[in-house]
């Protein structure tokens, strides 16, 4: 049972992180549409780093 609670917490953490990144990226693109490509690239990189953390924690937990 505690496995599931832990997994839920990990997903909450990843969700908050990705949501912040996505939100700030949207704001940045809204301010400067010509920089959309670079912002998107940076967003994807940080998204992958966060996912790596979340998945790593999931694997270590299971």
């Amino acid at each position: 049972m505690y496995n599931l609670i832990g997994a839920g917490l990990i997903v909450i953490g990843a969700g908050i992180g990705l949501g912040q990144i996505g939100g700030k990226a949207m704001e940045g693109i809204a301010r400067q549409p010509e920089a959309a490509g670079k912002i998107q690239t940076a967003m994807l990189i940080i998204g992958a780093l966060l996912e790596g953390l979340a998945f790593g924690a999931l694997i270590l937990g299971k």
Partner: protein, 380 residues
């Protein structure tokens, strides 16, 4: 397209070479009793899979490496359709042994080769005797010796297939440059990808002067991971990049390149960070050394976990066809599973490309940090 034709013949040749091993070792014509019932120790992933445990075992079996290529198994008769891959072992006393994995008959019989007996138990090959005894110690660990296993398994076949596909694609692209500077069609897309790796990944991170030396490695890693991830989405049942040994090897490549190409500034920043007061330098040194190892480690875990999770979710959603059959009927359950699986499949396509991109981007970042020239005045 002479290179393409030659590579095609090579592909056919390799395929025939591999399948010839099945005729070398085949005793029976591949008939097995139906394995519908579960074994005591493990649920065998053969025969009709109906219950949740059998589906779990089936998924787990397909996420792992295998010594044979099973395309599908007939539910009633239990007959396997596929071919066995060669097993190459290096035994300590007996030397090199090669035989077809059909001698194992999926773990039931003991394989005999030149007087040595080998038993296939839980996915690993052990030295044994004619009856196939496995000796355990008190913690239920297997005590038998293991020969070094150099077999051609499914992952090896997958990697070779990806390598051949890349040779085909890039060979024809290189050949087309003789005719015109602008390649047409799909080859143009390939050229765009190569330019993307150079302009968006290599040059921003490594710098315009030095990126050329590392382009070979970065391009190889990018296209190899992309092709292997895409292969994993086909119904052939590959899961190469979801194997931690494969991703560990790729991360080790990045690790060795950064270590061997690191210049004096890089090592100085790790062991004696300039610009900080000396107590901080002592504190930072072990942290930086640890960081040297955790960065490739995270590369490895990131790709392994992403790929395995993706394949696992995809297979679970396809298994919904069986699990929901009782409530929604065959058509309903197939429809639901189809829609969900389609969504996850499209996401997996994105993840395949994304993982290749992120692996290459982070590798180039680490390489860039290692070869960076600082304009120092002893002040950061």
């Amino acid at each position: 397209m002479m290179i393409a034709q030659k590579s095609f013949k090579f592909l056919i040749g390799i395929f025939v070479f591999l399948t010839s091993f099945t005729y070398a070792g085949e005793h029976k014509t591949g008939e097995h009793e139906a394995h519908g019932e579960a074994h005591k120790e493990e649920v065998h992933a053969e025969g009709p899979v109906d219950t949740k445990e059998e589906i779990d075992a089936y998924i787990k079996h397909h996420l792992q490496d295998a010594h044979d290529f099973t395309f599908f198994t007939d539910g009633e008769t239990g007959k396997h359709y596929g071919f066995s891959l060669p097993i190459i072992l290096w035994d300590k006393e007996a030397g090199l042994q090669m035989f077809s994995s059909s001698k194992f008959h999926h773990g039931e019989t003991v394989a005999e080769s030149n007087g040595n007996f080998y038993k296939y138990y839980h996915g690993k090959i052990y030295n044994s005797d004619a009856e196939g005894t496995i000796t355990y110690d008190e913690n239920h660990n297997v005590q038998n010796y293991r020969p070094l296993d150099f077999s051609i398994t499914k992952n090896v076949v997958g990697t070779l297939l990806a390598a051949l596909l890349l040779l085909l694609a890039f060979g024809s692209l290189a050949k087309s440059y003789k005719k015109s500077q602008v390649p047409g069609g799909l080859k143009g897309g390939l050229e765009q990808l190569v330019m993307f790796v150079r302009d968006e990944i290599a040059i921003p991170n490594i710098g315009k002067e030095k990126h050329r030396k590392f382009m070979g490695y970065l391009l190889t890693v990018f296209f190899l991971v992309l092709t292997l991830n895409m292969l994993g989405l086909t119904p052939l049942g590959f899961n190469v990049t979801g194997n931690i040994a494969v991703t560990a090897a790729l991360a080790l490549f990045t690790f060795f390149i950064t270590q061997f190409k690191g210049n004096k500034d890089y090592w100085k920043h790790i062991f004696w960070m300039p610009g900080a007061p000396w107590p901080m330098k002592l504190v930072l040194a072990p942290i930086e050394v640890l960081g040297m190892f955790t960065k490739p480690f995270s590369l490895m875990v990131r790709m392994f976990a992403n790929m395995t999770a993706g394949h696992s979710v995809l297979m679970s959603l396809i298994a919904l066809v069986i699990l929901l059959k009782a409530q929604f009927g065959t058509v309903g359950s197939t429809g639901i599973s189809l829609v969900l699986s389609l969504f996850i499949f499209v996401i997996e396509l994105l993840v395949a490309y994304l993982q290749a991109f992120v692996f290459t981007m982070l590798s180039s970042l680490f390489i860039g940090i290692a070869v960076e020239e600082h304009a120092h005045d002893d002040h950061h």
